[in-house]
Amino acid sequence: MIDLTYGLITGIIFGFLLQKARVIRYDKQLGALRLLDMTIVKYMFTTILVAMVGVYLLKDLGLVKLSIKTTSLGGNILGGLIFGIGWALFGYCPGTSLGALGEGRYDAAWGILGMLGGAALFAELYPLMKKTVLTWGNLGKITLPQVLGINHWIVIAAMVVLGLLMFWFFEKKGL
């Protein structure tokens, strides 16, 4: 029960921030895909950088655990390509589509119904996918620092530098 309360409160704050940053809208999502407006990339990458530093800090202090997903090149690459096609057509992300509905963009409702259909279809095909695509290039639960054999703070520092360079580029180009 406490889990559900945490979920709701965290979701409300997240939805509030998403809406305030104006990153939920179709025009912003398509703007990024068309390389016209990088607002959502700025928002998302800042979130990733701050969370990366914070989570690893807490992990080093022994306060939290990482949640590492299995890397399956087949699943990640094919799934990513398919997701990209659907995302560009829909114009909202799975999570933010609920936020779009919350600010009155009710075309998102059609896509939400579509997503339920897509999830149902995947559930039907899961046994087949498990035997095929998901076995292709299955590398298990790996992380970049582990693969590179270096301390995670080196990877984090490199990501922060890359992120800042990207932000500097966006601002210079007025994206």
Partner: protein, 133 residues
């Protein structure tokens, strides 16, 4: 066309940093990372259960992701309310059936937009589940 009276949004770097802190707090306090797409699997399982509960109970993917209301399900519902609160308290809520950029390119037809949004949503969710993210 944006409402000319709509206030400008927050700086995306500041909002992004606050979201990063929210994620860190969530991992620390509840042990939960952010995600959304599993919720659509659980919800699809709910809907299908209404028609054929026995079949759902036998399906491998619904055994892996049980049709139940969990942290993430409430998180996704929360996103709706958070956005509703933020937009309705700042004059940026707007009923809109067809997005501006879509209308400029494909016209104001609601049916066309609805069909593409439905199909796109289905494709996106299939891909997201295949990539497990």
């Amino acid at each position: 066309m944006n409402d000319r009276h709509e206030p400008k949004g927050w700086n995306p770097y500041i909002a992004g940093a606050l979201t990063g802190l929210l994620l860190v707090l969530s991992v620390w306090a509840a042990g939960k990372y952010f995600g959304a797409s599993t919720t659509f699997v659980r919800s699809a399982g709910f809907v299908e259960s209404a028609f054929s509960a026995e079949r759902v109970a036998r399906m491998e993917y619904f055994i892996k992701e049980l049709p139940k209301i969990d942290w993430q399900w409430m998180f996704v519902v929360g996103i709706f309310f958070g956005s509703l609160i933020a937009s309705s308290t700042s004059r940026s809520f707007r009923w809109q059936a067809v997005p501006t950029m879509w209308e400029q390119r494909f016209g104001p037809g609601r049916l066309k937009r609805g069909i593409v949004a439905f199909f796109g949503g289905a494709v996106a969710m299939f891909g997201a589940r295949l990539a497990d993210g």
